[in-house]
Structure formats: structure tokens, C-alpha cells
Symmetry: C2
Subunit: 139 residues, 2 copies
Amino acid sequence: MNIYFACSITGGREFERIYQELIRALLADGHEIPTAHLAESNVVDLEAVVSPREVYERDVIWLRKADAIIAEVSVPSHGVGYEIGFALSVGKPVLCLSLEGRKISKMISGNPHPNLTLKMYKNVEEAIRLARGFLKTVK
Amino acid sequence: MNIYFACSITGGREFERIYQELIRALLADGHEIPTAHLAESNVVDLEAVVSPREVYERDVIWLRKADAIIAEVSVPSHGVGYEIGFALSVGKPVLCLSLEGRKISKMISGNPHPNLTLKMYKNVEEAIRLARGFLKTVK
């Protein structure tokens, strides 16, 4: 399955280790994740070689091609919020994963869109289980 | 003019004073801003009396009714990012205002959508001038 993984970049990187473990598990399951490099510690350097416009256009192409979107939403991010709104507007299934106890925007927690699922996790193992469970529901 | 003002709530409130001064100036100009209370210091208490679902549905109705969206994007926020994506998907003009020197998501800074304008300001007086200039361009 082709998965668009969305995580905070300019918003803050305190959950980087969780992004990395989640992506590693999903790649090991055989999924394709074109955004896998966004979990790397040197993501800001990696993304600095392309213009903001190129990043935007590349990401929108990847969103349109994806079978599903998995967004880690523990750290506030305009980009991830935008991608969730965009993905729903083009009919993609979206899973939002958040560490328990983090504050969640009501535009996510109160959003009744049938393609949007929000799940809270206690640790990265649970986040991986929730992601796998979600992907089984994607047609 | 009916303006949807978007700002960080759960993402962080360090720019609250700027939200308040900007809204005060636009209200004094005679605009309607249904989200004006989001700039108040007690916004979390104000919003606690309604469910996340009610907040979401109220905000989407306000977005659809708005002539223009003004989003303060200095503080990362899933909700504001979502609202920008949603507003563009339903054809609304959007102005993003950021304090100079803040990191901006490339989903905003690299976004070529003709209805999206990003402007940087040095102080709240400049933010107000930029908002007024943008509103003059809205038909």
C-alpha cells in the first residue's frame, strides 16, 4: 500500500524517534512511504536543497497518489493540519495518531468526517498496532 | 465584510496580544468576525462549554459563510493548518500573517494557490495594515 506519512517538521521535532520507529515498522510490512525521509534527523537539511514550492508540489502529488494518510499529531503543525484537510477534500482515508495526554485541535477531535480516524497511543508499539489495524480497513 | 479569523488555541497562546489588537482594529473598521472570541485570554474556558463536535461544526459553518479568512500563523497549529486547507478547497481568499523570522510550513510558504497570500510583519501595526490591504483585494 502507498502511505503518505505526515509529521511535524518546522513545528517541532520532539517526536522524531516515534516517527522513525513507526515508519520502519510499516516499511518492514512491505508498504511504500514516499515521505519516509521526513522522519530522519537531518530532514531540515534534506529539504533545504529543494525550494518551498517544489516541496509543496511534490507533497501534493504524493498525497493524491496515496492509498492512505497516517498523521502523527502530538506536535502542533500547520503543514500536517493542512495535509489532513487536503487529504479529506480529495477522498483519502486519514488516521491521526497522538500520544495520550496531548492536546488535540478540535478541528481533528471534533471532526465527524467518515474518512477521519483519531487514535491515542501509550507507546510506539501501540502506535504501530493502531496503524496496522487502520491499514486493514483501507480498501 | 465577514471575516473568519484563525489563530492557534491548543497549539500555544504566546501571540494572544497580537490576535487581540488585530481583531480590535478590524472590528473598529466595521467588519464582522464571528471567531473574535478566539483571541480572548479565556478562550479555553469559553470553548470548554461546547463539545469538540459542536466547535468543529460551528467553525465549518463560519468558514463557509466568510468572505475572507485571516490566519495568524506564527505559532504552529493543526487547527489553523486544517482551516487554511479547508478554506482553499471551498474557494475562499486566505491571508496568512506571520511575524518576521518565524519558521513557516512549506505547505503555506510553497503553496502556489492563487487564493492564498502570505505576508510577514514586523509589529502589530504592520499586521493591521497588511490585513486591511488584503481585504481591499477581496471582491
